[in-house]
Assembly symmetry: C2
Homo-oligomer: 241 residues x 2
DNA sequence: CAGAAACTGTTTATCGAATACGCAGTTTCG
DNA sequence: CGAAACTGCGTATTCGATAAACAGTTTCTG
């Protein structure tokens, strides 16, 4: 959470890198790296130690070069993060074997997307509060979701809204699960329980919910509840039309 | 997006501050500040210039003290952020005049919450990927939502799930709107349009959706679509039971 | 009331991070 | 061959968070 010592993001450069629209150098020493290797190293670090551990110095160390060497391949950290996200998302799997109705397709899509977020929780931070720069992979995910949604017969604008709704749900889960994985979870729970012991009377509904086990760990995929509700809601709308 | 030069968050200290469980000093000079004033200054900065502008030095400057003076009142930046969030959320308004059914109550709740996120978009970043430390206000919001949800008759665990679903939707909108407010929005759109011009054929559903106006600016409250779907989905479930 | 004790704001010093700049060596083209 | 286009790298700058130590201020205590 330290300050932003960086220059602004250069979307043009990010896009060029995302789409591989870089001219190959014709002279000079052979590059010892590629943007791809840098991105892969950064993702590796983010996966294992979280986004906070991703620094230019750290990536460089991982690749056995000096920090500044990286800047020959990516314009800056902001652009690197754009690349990380698109790369980590990868391509959605084919829909082979999935029934050809919108609900099955969307469910499958959501499961896959959720899997990606679980594998790379840092995607959440990496994309929070920033305009998304759609790379090839991100566009593929969007396309897949819209392909399913188009079968609902809903107006295009609502298809987009529905897409956001589902992504939002997945991101909420990612947030929850990232928070739960934080260190010292037990201590935190104990502290909060303590607080509620002392102030719980001010929160009757909450107290009742806790007593009823609303916050007990659940079994089953946390994705399901919300996804079912959303799809039910969309179905109701689609049927109405 | 710079590194984390801070020590870990101290939840105990945050909670003590959140609940005002601090012992008042009995000796020494009169304190010239309070945690509250620091938090207010930080929120002011975040509101007008975004979270990135919130640095200890900046807050101190705003309050006409040295940076280190702040550390007499808050243990560190992480704890300060906890306080900022709870303070910015404030208390949910009373439900006077809102019909006493769960759907109306939840709709009202969601609108209020969405208003808070719109006023303080940085809450999104401030709470991303971190375990939430529930302060008095955050608990009040949670309590209010659960009070409404309890009238659905759903099991407690599902009430919690439903709560997350709604908050998730609100946060998605906040994310969207924050991204849209970023500088250079037009240039970005132009660049993306360019890309699609060149690669659009790989994304038929997306191309179709764009043509159909899926991404055109919409009128009306963006909250509504998703909220209606979610509530419809919840209603369907509640009716079934 | 004299210290001691508990505080306060401040100064100074580290350390981590991003990244601008310029240098020396490497390749390739005219 | 020599300039041009590159590459990796050492150096320096700037910001941010925060630790440590210091000097002045109040309030107790004996």
């Amino acid at each position: 959470m330290a300050g932003s010592r960086e220059k602004k993001r250069d979307p043009k450069a990010s896009l060029a890198l995302l789409w591989g629209e870089q001219e190959q150098p014709r002279r000079g020493p052979k590059p010892s790296l590629t943007a791809g290797r840098i991105v892969a190293a950064a993702i590796e670090i983010a996966d294992t130690e979280g986004m906070d551990a991703v620094s230019m110095q750290r990536i460089a160390a991982e690749l056995d070069v000096t920090t500044m060497a990286l800047y020959r391949y990516v314009p800056g950290k902001a652009e690197l993060i754009d690349l990380m996200v698109d790369s980590a998302l990868g391509t959605p799997a084919t829909t082979d074997g999935i029934p050809d109705d919108w609900r099955s397709r969307l469910t499958d899509w959501a499961r896959q997307c959720w899997a990606k977020y679980r594998r790379h929780p840092w995607i959440l931070t990496a994309t929070a509060m920033r305009r998304q720069l759609m790379g090839p992979n991100q566009l593929a995910w969007l396309d897949a979701a819209l392909a399913a949604l188009s079968r609902t017969g809903l107006p295009a604008a609502q298809q987009h809204d529905a897409f956001l709704l589902i992504v939002g749900h997945i991101r909420t889960l990612a947030q929850q699960s990232a928070a739960a994985d934080e260190a010292g979870e037990e201590e935190w729970n104990r502290l909060e329980a303590d607080v509620l012991e002392r102030h719980g009377h001010r929160y009757p509904a909450l107290t009742a919910a806790i007593t009823a086990g609303a916050f007990a760990p659940q079994q089953g995929d946390p994705l399901d509840f919300g996804l079912e509700r959303i799809l039910d809601g969309i179905a109701a709308l689609a049927d109405r039309a």
